[in-house]
Symmetry: C2
Subunit: 367 residues, 2 copies
């Protein structure tokens, strides 16, 4: 297994606390001192207790992010939010940080009570296991993912270097806004918070907001971007930094789609010639989320009718003589599809996959 070192200023850990059977299910990212974190959350209005708590605490400088997998910590019982606070309070005590500086992210089944006691009991072990790489942490956040997803890049400048490490999990319930996943992008580059926020937002648009597995948006999506500000960069260096930063976001998002539940194909769908960016994005989302289009992809079936039908359903009137659809070879694992409306100058790219019988089987037994 490849070893991914974290940027300066961060430690991480992953342990097994019993939510999942014999598997890592509890993770921690520790900030050596409190840093400001940029957060992106699901637009689903029924959110997990973890998201509610993180939305509150992210206003403060952050000391740690606790993560559990195997349970969404959502809609499970009346005391759900209080339990969540209790867990983060216990962690804060043992880390000797303010409880208002701890974030929490959960992923897994909705509606089941989180094993609070197991988590609290394992906090000391979690802290003891902190290390300067993301290896166990990246395992502790997975649900139906078949492998950990980490991308790390060290950029060498003349007299200094900065590292960006991104860790993510997928792999079903994925649609734009912001995709259904957890992701953590850490760096030691010292970037002005406002600039980082703007760049992160732009990168999210082209990465986690540009993937669609099943048009399903979870209650738990969270993306955190944090910098320990150890290495200062010139404007020129920042430019290079952000190119790599965006590349890591896009590559992480692509990794999620490549490991989508049951998927046999990774599809890059380009919408071209739309009247507006909004139209291009909407069309990309509708096509990539359409069950009959995805079934056709699985069957290596370049079914243009499915595209016509779903766009009409979404009240996007097509002009028959302008529409040009180009399917790449559907027998390959990586497929490019171009839908050109020929009525404007706006383009949009989205990453998606097919729908297989295996997806149905995985989600039939998911409980």
């Amino acid at each position: 297994m490849k070893h991914y070192k974290l940027p300066q200023g961060f430690l991480a850990a992953g342990v097994s606390c019993g939510i999942k059977k014999n598997d890592y299910d509890l993770g921690l990212i520790l900030f050596k001192q409190p840093y400001r974190v940029i957060g992106f959350f699901t637009t689903n209005c029924n959110v997990s207790y973890s998201v509610s708590l993180s939305k509150k605490n992210i206003k403060n400088p952050v000391s740690a992010i606790l993560v559990n997998s195997g349970n969404a910590n959502c809609f499970s019982h009346k005391e759900g939010y209080r339990d969540t606070e209790e867990i983060t309070k216990k962690l804060a005590e043992q880390l000797e940080v303010g409880e208002e500086t701890v974030l929490f992210a959960s992923t897994g089944i909705i509606g089941k009570k989180l094993m609070k006691k197991n988590i609290i009991k394992n906090i000391p072990k979690l802290i003891k296991n902190l290390e300067d790489n993301s290896d166990k942490f990246s395992k502790s956040i997975l649900t139906t993912d078949t492998h950990p997803k980490v991308i790390s890049k060290t950029i060498n400048f003349s007299k200094k270097k900065v590292t960006i490490t991104g860790v993510a999990k997928g792999s079903g319930m994925i649609k734009p806004n912001l995709a259904t996943m957890l992701a953590f992008v850490l760096t030691d580059a010292d970037i002005n918070l406002g600039i980082l926020k703007k760049q992160a937002k732009d990168s999210v648009e082209k990465s986690f907001n540009a993937i669609n597995i099943d048009a399903a948006e979870s209650t738990n999506d969270s993306l955190f971007v944090a910098s320990s500000k150890k290495v200062s960069l010139s404007k020129q260096e920042q430019k290079k930094f952000f190119i790599e930063f965006q590349k890591i976001m896009v590559d992480l998002a692509r990794l999620i789609v490549k490991d989508a539940e049951g998927a046999t194909k990774f599809v890059q769908l380009d919408i071209r010639g739309a009247k507006s960016k909004k139209e291009a994005k909407m069309i990309a989302e509708k096509i990539s989320g359409y069950i009959l289009f995805k079934c056709a992809l699985y069957g290596n079936n370049p079914n243009v009718g499915r595209i016509v039908a779903v766009l009409g359903q979404a009240q996007i009137k097509l002009n028959e003589k302008d529409l040009k659809i180009k399917f790449g070879s559907l027998t390959k694992k990586d497929v490019n599809i171009i839908v050109d409306l020929n009525r404007g100058k706006c383009n949009w790219r989205i990453y998606t996959c097919d729908l297989s019988p295996e997806y149905v089987k995985i989600n039939a037994k998911y409980n």
Copy 2:
């Protein structure tokens, strides 16, 4: 096979013209004299040439409805609409009726050119085969349906009787608005057109607009209601007539869901305690169209979390302590599910089904 006699004033036929391999694929309903027809069409904005033509001609009294299966006659080539006109013109000539009095309905694959010549060549045979029952016609309109769908009822009054015969096809691409299907409901009862229209609209709401197989709406949905006005009814008799009329519509709609592609379960989903009828309907549609809910049903898995997630995605904020969800036994073929929001007095019922690996396989190879 059961034999379904048509109401007075109608004849029907079904033949094989070569669109499908060795199967009935061309149907005709002949009106012994022109009658007014009430039509309901898909709200998809990219419609078939057949729908476009029918929408125009339905303003006139109608002499015949031509139907083909195996091809949607939609988005296939520039001359598509002209070909459609040519076909109906040839039929009109041979029936000795005005071409503006012919309706056309098509169902099948989108984007492939309709075999105009085969259809025209088979018109004489079609006319020769006209009979006073719907048996062959009901076969000629099927696509992936596993059996014909006909419901017929003769109501006996003291000195007269009226017949209502409904013929429909499903079986994928089904969502409310108006569901994706073709249906023909014929009667000999003499009902005022305005009253029949109002009652038909109300019945569509509770039948074809209250079914959801895969949240996919086709380019070809059409429902035609026609009366030959042979038997006049008193107000009291009309009341009884409309009870049966609505029952036939609902039963036809249920038949479509029961024969849904790959479905292993028929689900009656009741939304209760919503704030408004609109909210209840929206919730019913969202849940019944949600891929992860349908996968869970297939797995006999009463996954409440899927309901919470999809409603949140649709920005329907739930109150955790009020929500009550009751799953009937999921191991049965007929399942009742009740979702009670406990926040209002409005209810809505929808008919739906599970999503199976078989659905994916059927649609993977559909071309």
